[in-house]
Symmetry: C2
Subunit: 418 residues, 2 copies
Amino acid sequence: MADSSEPEATAPSRRALIGWGGAGLALGAVAVGGAVAVTRADEDMDPAGASAGAAVDFHGTHQAGIATPVQDRLHFAAFDVTTDDRAAFVAMLRDWTEAARRMTAGHAVGEGAYGGLAEAPPDDTGEALGLKPSRLTLTIGFGPSLFERFGLAGKRPDALIDLPKFAGDNLDRNRSGGDLCIQACSDDPQVAVHAIRNLARIGFGKVVIRWSQLGFGKTSSTTPDAQTPRNLMGFKDGTRNIAGTETARLRKFVWVDEKDGPAWMEGGSYLVARRIRMHIETWDRTSLQEQEDIFGRDKGEGAPVGKAKERDEPFLKAMLPDAHVRLAHPDSNHGATLLRRGYSFTDGTDGLGRLDAGLFFLAYQRDVRKGFVQVQRNLATDALNEYIQHVGSAVFAVPPGVRDKDDWWGSTLFSEEA
Amino acid sequence: MADSSEPEATAPSRRALIGWGGAGLALGAVAVGGAVAVTRADEDMDPAGASAGAAVDFHGTHQAGIATPVQDRLHFAAFDVTTDDRAAFVAMLRDWTEAARRMTAGHAVGEGAYGGLAEAPPDDTGEALGLKPSRLTLTIGFGPSLFERFGLAGKRPDALIDLPKFAGDNLDRNRSGGDLCIQACSDDPQVAVHAIRNLARIGFGKVVIRWSQLGFGKTSSTTPDAQTPRNLMGFKDGTRNIAGTETARLRKFVWVDEKDGPAWMEGGSYLVARRIRMHIETWDRTSLQEQEDIFGRDKGEGAPVGKAKERDEPFLKAMLPDAHVRLAHPDSNHGATLLRRGYSFTDGTDGLGRLDAGLFFLAYQRDVRKGFVQVQRNLATDALNEYIQHVGSAVFAVPPGVRDKDDWWGSTLFSEEA
């Protein structure tokens, strides 16, 4: 496969683009003269206005989609690698990067497919044509099992541990793990779904989707002073989340720095993804007082026990010993603080007439051992556990940002030997 | 259960409300003095502005959610009845109506649960607090199997047939049928999910969810001159949909009138719901030309073969004999025309690395036999069938609208013997 990371000033490799689908070359590559790329940004069909339709910069020291203000919708996919060909895999990462660069800017994948008298097979599946960029971010992560491939064993970060089994875990293998992941966040679900689908298409023959998750409503905020959106228990949770503007807390709790190592992860982070099923029918039959005692905050405002406002400093000793806020608070966890970016999910019904619904928990941290593992162990006695169950789990090393248009996802991990 | 259809000027029956959850009475009914209902409409957290946050009138000759301009998101649930007690079922319909009236106006279910020092169990699950009405509509339908209960056998409309088996059907029993259904449409998915969940909660002991479906993106428009949103094949389909303002076409194709009978259905309609899985990975490897030939329209603009614009009158003979537009067009179906209100879905992965995605097709019509059955039979030779499969199916009689605050869902069917 051709290298699509060449400077954009030269003509993009159309051959590489149409080869992605596997059948493209067999169908014939027809050059399209004078075609112009259709950009979603050109149109204005979105009633939400400019802010919701805007583009988020794909390039930077850190990947977008972590400190970025949380978008409304999520499509998350974990992939397994199906090739032993390192060069082909690296070429796919470069192709993915180029596609991600285009899609986050509001363009279709490839150029010219819909301009003029195009007869070539489509470079893009098309369902996002006419839609705005909608703040799409695409964030890649590498799972522990990836480091068993491609001669990467010596590169696996110490902080990327296999998660231990936690009390109450009931993990479904088919909703856990993965060699790599893509987190697609956008204010428009069609834009997020389109992005995952097109990356899966580009990866055909190299990777296959292991599991995926749609999140319909955000449950956290990384915007300072914004109210925390409610989860499906009707509560605000994780109310003291790290804001994307809090540089010092991000540096302390989220971004890997040069002291942490390995060097290829500097500027990156670690992501823990947990599918947390809520037994909402049982929860809904619990009294308001009991619900508030379990959380350690009131339902209406979200204030900690005895306080008036959501963001008031909690007085932990006023809460029951097994209250969720008390057990999850940094003061109970040697200071451990996570950047939360989870979404609510509702995936139909479980066959027993109950909604298969809950929280798809996503948390970023500088070290999984000092972050999620610390907190989750402390939640072993959480009163909330009677109403929830962790049914899916994965952990990923999230590499640093793509610096510029010549850089690509995973370059720090793969380039020295590429 | 108390009758909650009493005029709103008198105090609502709080006892009936807290009894809904089943455990409510056991936990004790505490009167809450001076509490005020928290309304979602009071707040302004939605960046989409007033139009997206507005309320749609629940009352009218027809139910809202049919001719109403299509909202962005869907949560659809089919329920089975679990009680033989007709009076209890009718009381639930009245309670559902009152809850639907409140939720579509942007209020929580019940009154006062979060105002003041409430200690009673919550009347509302709370996750939509602080959100706007978001154009929520709730639309009820009665399935054929409901008429085998409660002495209703003589009331089943002739037009509410059991759908025949169509060529290519591969129906999953667990995604088909249902004694009744609720279609919840809203511009905010959390609002739609909240509504279904609270109706399920109120129905505890009388009904249980049989299956449910989340739709993340609308695929049709009932707004005149609006562009048709793309489906997950990247195409605009059903482009000549009936607009909510086209009174004559609505009367001709959608609303049951006094000539049609039965009398209790006058002003109602019939809903066909089909879960249509798309084999999108196969589709994505098909050339653009082939895709356009299969549909009979171009992908970029959505214009019929040989025409320039989406809404140009198609020249059917210019299309391949098995083109989708040609076979689905009213001219090929004795004039049959459906009001389409379908949504795209993506429900994770199918275990073979393929996205479980497609179209949740919803169509309203005056007579199922002359509407969906006619068109679907004609689509037996549709070229599109190689890329899709119908995996779920249901049909419902959708009664007329709730006239005013004293009326309730199903009153025309149940009241004469209630």
